[in-house]
């Protein structure tokens, strides 16, 4: 059979500027999402932790009324924090797949393609956000069952989706950076364990900033998780209020994403050397 004598491709020309960039970015995301569809077990295992936190921690402290939550119940107060936590825990180990795929030679295949390095990073961030949206749906279901006072306005929901996606993109890309720096699975798991809890506790996820000692509050205020939680608390819960202002929340999240994107794009090719 004959393969040759193809007409040259007039079609490398883009239908609109950036079309190719978009296509490449989405191809990277698609690769990962297709794997998730083939084997969605991971999505289900991720659902256990938020249930435990809401059901046990949330319920118990709800009765204790030990934490000042500004007029809403403690369960309502931590529901956004637990959503953020579930997104964080899902995203923070995402980088290990990069190390895994490097060992299999898959990352090398992406890197020899002409796709700009930033599409390789952005595509992975997008696939991580797809996972986070599944977690969001699940946390909403559990919260409903526990009678958390959720808001369902279109704008509020859109805002929650945006905050969830941004948080997931930030922490999964941060995780890629860690993977590029440590390069081995063992070291990555070690560092991942060490990072997760401090990120979580040095935030306003389960107690307000006002309760924190000064040093912890200072750390919390540079932790993107705090801004994600603040935005979620404002948008998700009836009577929820913002400590930073919703505009500042999203600005800080966008800034954090820009920083991790830039660093990860720079480091990404070094994963194979």
């Amino acid at each position: 059979m004959s393969l040759a004598h193809e007409a040259p491709l007039s079609g490398w020309a883009e239908p609109f500027p950036g079309a190719n960039y978009l296509r490449q970015t989405l191809a990277v995301a698609e690769s990962d999402i297709r794997k998730l569809i083939h084997d969605p077990v991971e999505l289900f295992t991720r659902m256990v932790q938020p249930v435990l936190w809401l059901l046990i921690f949330g319920q118990v402290f709800n009765r204790a009324r030990a934490i000042p939550t500004g007029g809403i119940s403690y369960l309502d107060f931590i529901a956004p924090g637990i959503l953020a936590q579930s997104v964080l825990f899902g995203a923070i180990f995402y980088g290990i797949s990069l190390i895994w795929e490097r060992d299999l030679g898959i990352v090398q295949k992406f890197l020899v393609s002409p796709a700009p390095r930033s599409t390789l990073v952005l595509g992975r961030a997008i696939s991580s956000t797809a996972r986070s949206l599944c977690q969001m749906v699940f946390v909403y279901l559990v919260a409903l069952l526990l009678h958390v006072q959720l808001r369902f306005g279109i704008l509020q929901l859109a805002g929650v989706v945006a905050a969830v996606m941004l948080g997931s993109a930030i922490f999964s890309t941060f995780s890629l950076i860690v993977a590029c720096l440590v390069k081995s699975r063992e070291r990555f798991m070690g560092i991942g364990q060490v990072l997760t809890m401090p990120l979580f506790f040095a935030s306003n996820a389960i107690y307000p900033l006002s309760l924190m000692p000064g040093w912890l509050r200072a750390i919390s205020q540079v932790n993107p998780l705090s801004y994600q939680v603040d935005a979620l608390r404002t948008l998700m819960i009836v009577g929820g209020s913002s400590a930073f202002g919703i505009g500042k929340d999203f600005l800080m999240l966008l800034a954090a994403f820009a920083v991790v994107m830039a660093v990860a794009t720079k480091l990404y090719p070094s994963i194979v050397t």
């Binding site: 296509r23 990277v28 299999l104 030679g105 194979v272």
Partner: protein
């Protein structure tokens, strides 16, 4: 073809290319060139620097010194332009086992910016050509080693590269799978005039496929000629095995550190 340069009689020109790892010089001021359309074979014992050379030529690994021109583009100055011109089949079996064969090719085609209509045509053709159409919807982890290799070669050719790099394309394959891979490689050459640079430990493979062969040892080229020319240099009745031993002082099965053993094992595992 796509995005200019090429032309010129050499598809690959390696200019004083060097790579160090700490104090180890894995590739040591190499200079050589490959004529357009030719198949160039690199022989050498484990650790000779073959994979390191290929990783530099495919832009995966930055050189410590020197550069190379691939299809008319400078590797160091215009890596993106080089990437548009090359295909790469790595030493590992690296098709994504968690995706189907079709999905593997689809993602590649999108990464290379091949427009939708053309994409479908080329993918269908690739499966046909590689005799994999019946398994295109199966996940690659169910493929045999020979099928994975054929899929990877198809994948690396979707965008019709001018230069194809293959690192030990038939390692770990049984004799008939190997033959079938060789056949496809020759066919591709005939159809597209692709320049091929491949590494191998397999003398029969080198004899079969390569127009020119270089023997690499400790990061430098110990000899370079046509297979027949190399044999003539060593002696009247010489085989490529004799050539290899003559220039490297090693037998082919000799050498190989822990890393090589581990890698061979993991390749074997993936072959299932």
């Amino acid at each position: 073809m796509e995005n200019a340069p090429d032309s010129g009689s050499n598809a690959i020109e390696v200019l004083s290319l060097t790579r160090r790892f700490g104090t180890l010089v894995a590739v040591d001021h190499l200079n050589f060139s490959c004529a357009s359309g030719a198949t160039f074979g690199l022989l050498g014992p484990n650790g000779a620097g073959k994979s390191t050379l290929i990783k530099m030529l495919t832009t995966l690994l930055p050189p410590s010194e020197g550069t190379a021109k691939i299809a008319g583009f400078d590797l160091v100055q215009h890596p993106e332009a080089v990437r548009r011109k090359i295909g790469y089949v790595s030493q590992m079996l690296s098709a994504d086992g968690d995706l189907t064969g079709y999905e593997n090719l689809l993602i590649s085609a999108k990464l290379y910016g091949i427009p939708r209509a053309e994409r479908a045509r080329r993918i269908a053709q690739a499966f046909e050509f590689m005799d994999l159409a019946h398994v295109s919807g199966k996940r690659v982890r169910q493929y045999s080693g020979g099928m994975i290799r054929r899929l990877e070669i198809a994948q690396s050719m979707l965008h019709r590269p001018s230069v194809l790099f293959m690192d030990e394309p038939s390692v770990g394959l049984d004799p008939s799978a190997k033959r079938s891979v060789w056949e496809r490689i020759r066919e591709l050459r005939r159809e597209f005039g692709t320049t091929i640079l491949m590494t191998t430990h397999d003398m029969e493979e080198a004899d079969h496929l390569c127009d020119r062969v270089a023997v690499m040892h400790n990061g430098v080229l110990a000899a370079m000629d046509t297979p027949a020319g190399l044999k003539a240099q060593v002696g009247a009745e010489a085989t490529l095995d004799d050539v290899f031993i003559h220039f490297t002082g090693a037998t082919i099965s000799e050498g190989g550190d822990l890393r090589d053993v581990a890698r061979t094992r993991s390749t074997t595992q993936r072959l299932g």
